[in-house]
Symmetry: C2
Subunit: 265 residues, 2 copies
Amino acid sequence: MNSFNKLSQLQADKSSLLCVGLDSDINKLPAHFPKEINSLLKFNMEIISSTEKYASAFKINFAFYEQYGSEGFDILKKTIDFIGKRNFIIADSKRGDIGNTSAAYAASCFDYFGADAITVAPYMGYDSVEPFLKYKDKLTFVLALTSNPGSSDFQRLEFAGKPLYKHVIEKCLGWGDTDNLGFVTGATHPGDIKGIRDIAPNHFLLIPGVGTQGANISELLEANGNHPCTINVSRDIIYAGSGTDFAEKAADKAKYYKDAFGFKM
Amino acid sequence: MNSFNKLSQLQADKSSLLCVGLDSDINKLPAHFPKEINSLLKFNMEIISSTEKYASAFKINFAFYEQYGSEGFDILKKTIDFIGKRNFIIADSKRGDIGNTSAAYAASCFDYFGADAITVAPYMGYDSVEPFLKYKDKLTFVLALTSNPGSSDFQRLEFAGKPLYKHVIEKCLGWGDTDNLGFVTGATHPGDIKGIRDIAPNHFLLIPGVGTQGANISELLEANGNHPCTINVSRDIIYAGSGTDFAEKAADKAKYYKDAFGFKM
């Protein structure tokens, strides 16, 4: 089963659009965890076990592991293995480089780590994205309109009456199809999501920005309609509790978001 | 000494603008290397030892190591340690994400790996670049006009009469100074380098695209003039030979490029 179908099926099985983001940071773990790298794995395992009935996907932020070098990469691999093939795994690493280099990044994400999807930066154009799209059974989420304040610096520059992020989406639509291509669109821009759905109604959107980043859920849901999307919440779930009951607190928060997002077939 | 001064000093000491790119790939090593990951480290060590008298910098392409997971990251760290503080190390990883995530990538590159410089993708704007620029003694090379064919897909889109890559440069000039900010500009676009020098005359340019990618060296040198730059050559040097004398062949090729680039104080 390809990634598009796998994610669709998991969302239907769990009636959930929720993606839980594992932005795990040693300095933010509950106090009973020793401040050492293995705590990241133990924390992740408890969060995954407690939230997986509400989450149809997990997103792993590579940066938080890379900062610990090879040990961090080892924890990353073990976390992905623990999430397992029964779940959907998005490698959030925002890679992108010239062709032969992107091919190596794709091999890292899909062959070595075994992720179902990746996030990719579009600035370098076709030959930087194509090596990811070559994995036709995987989903490549290209950054379109990101959730952060800096998204307005370049993504909204208008060329020929259209913002850069729409040029990115339209070009990419010629490079892949719904099976292997999706877009990252921040929940912080509900007004733009409607316009994106006009040009890419059937592609999965990976939507971050709910929770700590403050997006309005009902505006988001209205803008997206019933089009395929996975909505990520990271910090607001994984750091919901700071005591020994952190995993239960995370599960409660995951259930809250799952219910708030709703699910329609 | 900050990275700007360190690179300037090394270039003067060695009369060299050459940066050797370690895009080392197990499948391209000379035949006497076993096809195993430790061969990458042995190969890199010989290439570094044989070329360092001609190279004022080394650029390490993270993708080629990441594809082997934690073992690859271990080889990457050992390679960087072998290059050593006496040399200049550019982490070519093209990172960039929302603020707290970019901060973790910066910690990975500068604190864990101890690189002198990094390459960063600008698509996500200010808060994705600023955590790197906060390391004021390090150089952050923001992608401006890259060397690959796909660079024309988005980087040349014109907004208000100026291509996107010039908007990127001009915005970034407000975020950093010559000490902590440089730009990646492909040698494959000599005609554009002149225009870039009009707006950023004193910032270091990291210039890839010479060698396998086919840029014309004399056009590049004329376009850049005497402005600060480091010119990268990867495959054409490290794979110059395919026998047991590969390191000598690489040194000969490195000397060829060092001489071809020239050096003027």
